[in-house]
Symmetry: C2
Subunit: 357 residues, 2 copies
Amino acid sequence: MIQYNLLFQFCFEVFRKIGCSTTDAELASRVLISADLRGIDSHGVARLSGYVRLWEAERINPTPNIQVVHETPSTAVIDGDAGLGLVVAPAAMEIAMEKARTAGTGWVAIRNSNHFGIAGYHAMMALQHDMIGMAMTNASPLVAPTFSSERMLGTNPIAVAIPAKEEPPFVADFATTTAANGKMEILQRNDEQAPEGWVQDKNGNPSTNPYAVKEGGALLPLGGDRIHGSHKGYCLGAIVDIFSAVFSGANYGPWAPPFVSFLSPPDDPVGEGLGHFLGAMRIDAFRPAEEFKQNMDTWIKRFRSAKPVNDNQKVLIPGDPEREEEARRKTEGIPVNPKVYQDLLGLKEKFDLKALF
Amino acid sequence: MIQYNLLFQFCFEVFRKIGCSTTDAELASRVLISADLRGIDSHGVARLSGYVRLWEAERINPTPNIQVVHETPSTAVIDGDAGLGLVVAPAAMEIAMEKARTAGTGWVAIRNSNHFGIAGYHAMMALQHDMIGMAMTNASPLVAPTFSSERMLGTNPIAVAIPAKEEPPFVADFATTTAANGKMEILQRNDEQAPEGWVQDKNGNPSTNPYAVKEGGALLPLGGDRIHGSHKGYCLGAIVDIFSAVFSGANYGPWAPPFVSFLSPPDDPVGEGLGHFLGAMRIDAFRPAEEFKQNMDTWIKRFRSAKPVNDNQKVLIPGDPEREEEARRKTEGIPVNPKVYQDLLGLKEKFDLKALF
């Protein structure tokens, strides 16, 4: 267990060491650790050393000049200048919300960026402004489309955050695959097999091997196989890819640059860096905010009281588990697994940081 | 087999008989039969008598006064005045595209509407204008959220249509359930069991009974069960419900009015009628249209040539099967199953129509 403040300070120091400004290092740390707080351990400090290695490979620019390259009243395209997605995406979301203030909605496509942490963070930025926030991103290709044995798409997450009045907000944030890659790592650590429908081997055959992806196989689109609707998961992943990267001029599909520094990006790029797509919709562009939020309270209460199959497992509202985890970890601290802890100690040594934990 | 023109003329006459104007009857027929043309038989003429029964129950207004009740530069809320969704939705999509022309994007939430046919029709309206089209709708509750035995959501489809240059467009159009309700009817006709993950019985237990939904059970969200990501399908269905109905002031969740006339809408409505949510994004609000469409050609070609698992089943681009079906049925005619044919003969007699087939 590491207390949030200590972990934050550590990340901040690391981002400062790779050359980020104080403001950017603070922002990047906050976005990164929001994943750990919300229990999405795969996207938090576990990735810190990965960002550092990408910086060492000169694939991350710590002082990006983030620029709007095209705009209309409700849209903008942003060049992230190879900056940290953790910094580029919040800047882009501010622009989306600014557009929404005047045009009702704002939609921003971002190119030349890098992994942006959890999609939910960016979508949730809208909540305090009585807006609905949306965030999606393409990612390193690990997912095979239905009928294919080739990795063509990332786990391409979608997040949608919707405010309520007295109830906590509705926050959906999910990979468009049956299971995210982080789940495979958990199986490997526990020496367990994967459920059917999560992965296939390198020839495209169904597999329960938790190392299948590492051995050339692929994650499967939500649905798992054709009969269970994997073509719908493939559609979702494809839509995220096109909105994030074809709209913006980033690399799409199998051209999306890998997150790991030991794999080089394709030498025939079709765009620049990774792409994101963010949206903000002002609630009162549709309906008075109070009225909408009261109805969201009704929606949430009704779904929460839907008849459960088992009395000991109530129906959840999207965002419930993450919010509860966040409350717990804010007080109790963040569990850091031994391998990640070693990683952090390595960074501490590399950058000659003061002992923080 | 019935030729398209004959079927169109028949629907047109029926819509005229229930009081639609010539223009509306033409439009409603075109939208309705676009489903049959594209091979989505459950949403086409099979539903014609259902619309008529709703009209008889005075739940469909054949001469609606479709009005914009609120707007901003990029948004509008429309009251469909209990009109046919087949007519209300195209009118709303025109408004979304008009907004997009000036603001870059246009987003329209619709209340007080009825079933709008296939979502894909409305999304595809944007293609010829070099826009991306989106359409979603809520629907009669048949789907249980993860962990619940209660029907709380409709099959809530999402459609996204994206133009390319030389390649045909990318058109995704899918229910946010593992399988649509129409699939259950096919199983019933063929006396077959449902695959696991499609339905549950009225107690929420997994079922392969093709009559499970009729017997008080529920369709399952995309993913099927928790371990295969049904909470993601539930998120998607919920987002469609909230965008379509909470934004617009329509009935949401279990309050969505049933399509069948023998079930009355809930007597404690939370809004008016069904809701839809439509969007149009001008491509050049992001990037020159030619450049975007060339990149879409590259995207489509690359995905179509992704390594197949079996050489006899290539990777498909969303919209491929429906487009091929449409080309076939336009020339060969539309197969109408015996039960639906009897239904149409009933309408022919009811309205004393000339022999059309």
